[in-house]
Amino acid sequence: MPIEEERRALARGLRRRDPELLDGLIERYQYRLFRYLVYLCGNRETAEDLFQETWVRVLDRGHQYDGKSKFETWLFSIARHLVIDLHRRKRPQSLEALTEAEENPMQVPAGGASALDLAAAQEAEAGLLESLNRLPAILREVLLLRFQEDLKLEEIAVVIAAPMGTVKSRLYRGLEQLRELLEGAKP
């Protein structure tokens, strides 16, 4: 099925609130959405709550997805709004001020894989995670969208509801800072 037709079918299904379609979408996008939320709000528990909220919002506002853009772009912008709403309720601040909210939010948790696997993974990723945690959330976010999600600059602009110039400047700043932080973290 061509991508456009697939998106239109998705939009129709969301308008109908098709439960099977939603179950499939949750399965399919769980990793990407959870990762985005962890990057954005810097806390796994909060990310988990917002993960559920995002899907409830997708159900509620499914009729707003027009099928013209990528589903993930729309999904991420919903998740982003929820993070901003949450932080506005907690403290009157914007996403710009959200940085180093938690200590090492992207840490590998205990449980799940074997202890040896976890230790090895932790060691390999420790430097990067620490560096990422020290980046402001707005820079972490664009780095994720560009280099992990492989979104186009225009799509990132839609997700973060900002002009293209802002997207580019955040990417440049983010990349530069990440590079410096990683260099500083090396033994």
Binding site: L22, F34, L129, L153, E183
Partner: protein
């Protein structure tokens, strides 16, 4: 001039990753990086940073999708129930409106008769008729506004 070349190289190293560069620029950059160790270092660091960034993985909490699916299922039930209630209410309103319209002439005569019997001025029994006609709609509107207001507040609280 030499500083300019380093600055250009530095700019292109980042630009290549962020928004892409032309084939000529890439060719120039490769040549420059081969000759300039000072610029080759940040280029290598940038590539390493991106490689690490792409490799990072976030472990998923167990049962994450299951819990979300359950939440979505409950919410879908709730919305369906709400839609059913709304339909029932609109149908009831429609029937009441039609019946009100059909019986209006009879009720008018009834008010007129009672008004005449009691010796009331026309304005009084006519006002009574208007109140009888509009009161149910006003009550329904107040109930609806209160319900939607409460639902909106619940949404905001979530």
């Amino acid at each position: 001039m030499n500083d300019d070349r380093h600055a250009t190289a530095e700019r292109l190293i980042l630009q290549e990753q962020v928004e892409g560069i032309s084939a000529e620029e890439r060719q120039w950059l490769s040549r420059h990086l081969e000759q300039c160790a000072d610029c080759a270092l940040p280029a290598r660091r940038t590539a390493e940073a991106l490689r690490s960034l792409r490799a990072v993985s976030i472990p998923l909490p167990a049962g994450l999708a299951d819990r979300a699916q359950l939440r979505v299922y409950w919410r879908a039930e709730e919305l369906e129930e709400r839609t059913r209630e709304a339909w029932t209410m609109w149908i009831a309103c429609g029937i009441a409106w039609i019946l009100g319209l059909l019986t209006a002439p009879l009720v008018w005569r009834g008010f007129e008769w009672v008004g005449g019997l009691a010796g009331l001025p026309s304005l009084v029994w006519q006002t009574g008729f208007v109140v009888w006609w509009t009161a149910p709609a006003l009550v329904a509107a107040i109930v609806l506004i209160a319900r939607f207001g409460a639902a909106g507040q619940r949404e905001q609280m979530r």
